[in-house]
Amino acid sequence: MLPLIIAGALGLLVVLWVVGVYNGLVRLRNAVKNAWSQIDVQLKRRHDLIPNLVETAKGYMVHERETLENVTKARNLAQSATGVANQGQAEAGLSRAMMSFFATAEQYPDLKANQNFLALQEELASTENRIGFARQAYNDAAMQFNNKVEMFPGNIVAGMFSFAKAEFFEIEDAAQREVPKVSFS
């Protein structure tokens, strides 16, 4: 009788442990999902702001058609991207286009004095920050989740219920990470 009770108790403990780990995994996975939706909201916000910016700048930057078109193109590309990795690449392209746009805008004092432009610039700068912060939060959440999925003994439960690792959101692409080549010719 006694061995039976001990075995039963042990079995119950194991079941309770599995339930605990499973629930923990689900909670972390939801945190990852939530963090991703935060990024998504901010990316969408950026995509919505850019047409306004281009519209405002058009009147002042008549000779910079190409820069403006690049921004619009990069924005459309980013908007249609799907998947964490693809989206990261497209957003990196958009960031670069925006950077060169703002660098060009520096040469137009009238544009820089435009209230509407200033407001949009603040909104975009803020959105950039938010994307950055949301990315931090997402990657933190993803790392916590992945640790739990990969580390022993959590990985047993993760394997049982086939929890897949979360992807990290990298906004820089490979080209950006290379050391820039400088030539003096």
Partner: protein, 469 residues
């Protein structure tokens, strides 16, 4: 990070219990002294028993507990609003201060709060900010107009990060509760001391006390008086100690959220350099501000200070060599002062910390130090950044110190912005002067004080030309 909060919670619970025990002990002793125990003769089975009951002690404890409960309830459900009303803050809309809202929302995302706090403005040219509210869902954040005028975006972000960190750590709730307990202790003690002083209850009860009479009762009375004098002091020391500890944690939080400790460091420098006190502050709200609003520019560290000395906070932030994590902050914290330093006088601190990372008189020359500090820090950060991609630095290059003229212009703009919020209307005269009409100004015409041109009041607009507060 979560471990930090959990450890903090444990320590907090302990302190709450100490405080509560102090409160109850005070209630018990006073009750005991005022209503002394009486002996009864009870007869049972032909025997005579002496039964002593101490109703006074229990009554005293009950009253103390009840007082605390009532106040705690009020504070829990109305605390944020009471605080905001006490400091004369008004709620802002998004269009009033888009940049402030952006900064707050960014920090909300960085901290992972469910929603941004309500944002309030204190119409005060002193430089300060505080957070209130029982939990992240019911939080509010207040900044002074002076802060909006004097800080640049990165600095504002550092300050907002600090306040958001208070909200995340539930410091606001905790400090409110501790404040209420300390307040109740003060209230009871003062009431008792006064009642005794004016020849109230004490003597009356002593004369009518039971056979044991005089001696013991007098001793109890003395004990009660001593406790009534000492308890408020102890309560306040506990309260201040908690407050200081939490300031460090909030500074660390700000560095983690912004990934840019220099923002808060230079903001603190600007705030410390500004001698103007926050007029609307009072003792109870003081621990909730970013710097102690009641101490002047240099607040010495001491047992009775709600905040660690600003200069030291700056040094710790600047000493976070090459990283923006809680671990970095903890390292820097230890290097610059160590654990026992809250008890140390400022002079001793200056000696031990001299020559470390930043010269001791950093606060005396803000522009130079700010510039040098940032450049250095940036390079360190980017080094670390290449090694640890999950801890990137998000901020743009800092704008550095603003020239005095630009700062004065910003302050003027901020003043106009506050007037605009209060329903002032503006006329820009041909001579360049800007006329500000208060909402109660009812005349049709107004004369420009500089060039004496007459304007019709109907020209006035509520728009602010060139304002970007």
């Amino acid at each position: 990070m979560f471990e930090l909060i959990r450890a903090n919670k444990r320590r907090s619970m302990l302190l709450v219990f100490v405080m509560l025990a102090l409160l109850l002990a005070l209630g018990f002793t006073i009750g005991f002294a005022v209503f002394p125990p009486r002996g009864f003769w009870a007869y049972a089975n032909g025997q005579r028993y002496e039964v002593m009951i101490p109703p006074g002690g229990l009554i005293g404890m009950g009253i103390a507990f009840l007082l605390w409960t009532i106040q705690a309830f009020a504070a829990y459900f109305q605390g944020d609003r009471i605080l905001m009303a006490a400091s004369g803050a008004r709620e802002l809309e998004r269009q009033d201060a888009p940049q402030l809202f952006n900064v707050v929302e960014e920090m909300t995302i960085a901290a992972g709060l469910p929603k941004p706090p309500a944002i309030y403005l204190i119409e005060d040219m002193g430089l300060n900010a505080f957070a209130a509210g029982r939990d992240p869902q019911n939080a509010c954040l207040a900044v002074t107009a002076g802060l909006m005028g004097k800080l640049n975006r990165d600095q504002l972000q550092g300050v907002v990060g600090h306040e958001i960190s208070h909200i995340v750590n539930r410091d606001v709730l905790f400090m409110t509760m501790m404040g209420i307990m300390a307040g109740t202790i003060v209230l009871i003690s003062e009431g008792f001391v006064r009642a005794t002083y004016y020849g109230g209850s004490g003597t009356r009860y002593r004369s009518s006390s039971s056979r044991e009479g005089g001696g013991a009762q007098a001793l109890l009375m003395v004990l009660a008086i001593v406790l009534a004098i000492v308890a408020p002091l102890i309560a306040q020391l506990i309260y201040y100690a908690c407050s200081r500890r939490r300031e460090y944690l909030a500074d660390a939080g700000s560095a983690v959220y912004t990934r840019y400790p220099e923002g808060l460091a230079s903001a603190l420098e600007v705030i410390a350099g500004d001698a103007q006190l926050t007029a609307s502050a009072n003792k109870v709200i003081a621990p909730m501000y970013i710097v102690n609003p009641l101490a002047g520019a240099q607040s010495l560290t001491s047992w009775s200070s709600t905040h660690p000395p600003t200069e030291e906070r700056i040094r710790i932030l600047r000493g976070m060599a090459g990283g923006a994590s809680y671990a970095n902050y903890a390292q820097s914290w230890e290097r610059i002062g160590g654990a026992g330093r809250a008890a140390m006088p400022a002079s001793a601190l200056a000696q031990t910390a001299a020559g470390e990372i930043i010269a001791p008189h950093a606060a005396a020359q803000p522009p130079l130090m700010a510039a040098a500090g940032t450049a250095d820090f940036k390079s360190q950060i980017s080094d670390i950044n290449s090694q640890a991609p999950t801890v990137p630095v998000q901020m743009a290059v800092p704008r550095g110190a603003q020239p005095a003229a630009a700062q004065a212009a910003r302050m003027r703009q901020t003043g106009d912005w506050v007037r605009q919020l209060n329903g002032f209307r503006f006329i820009t005269c041909g001579c360049g002067a800007r006329l500000k009409l208060p909402p109660e100004y009812k005349n049709d015409k107004i004369m420009c004080p500089r060039c004496r041109a007459i304007h019709a009041t109907s020209e006035a607009t509520t728009d602010l030309p060139g304002a970007s507060a």
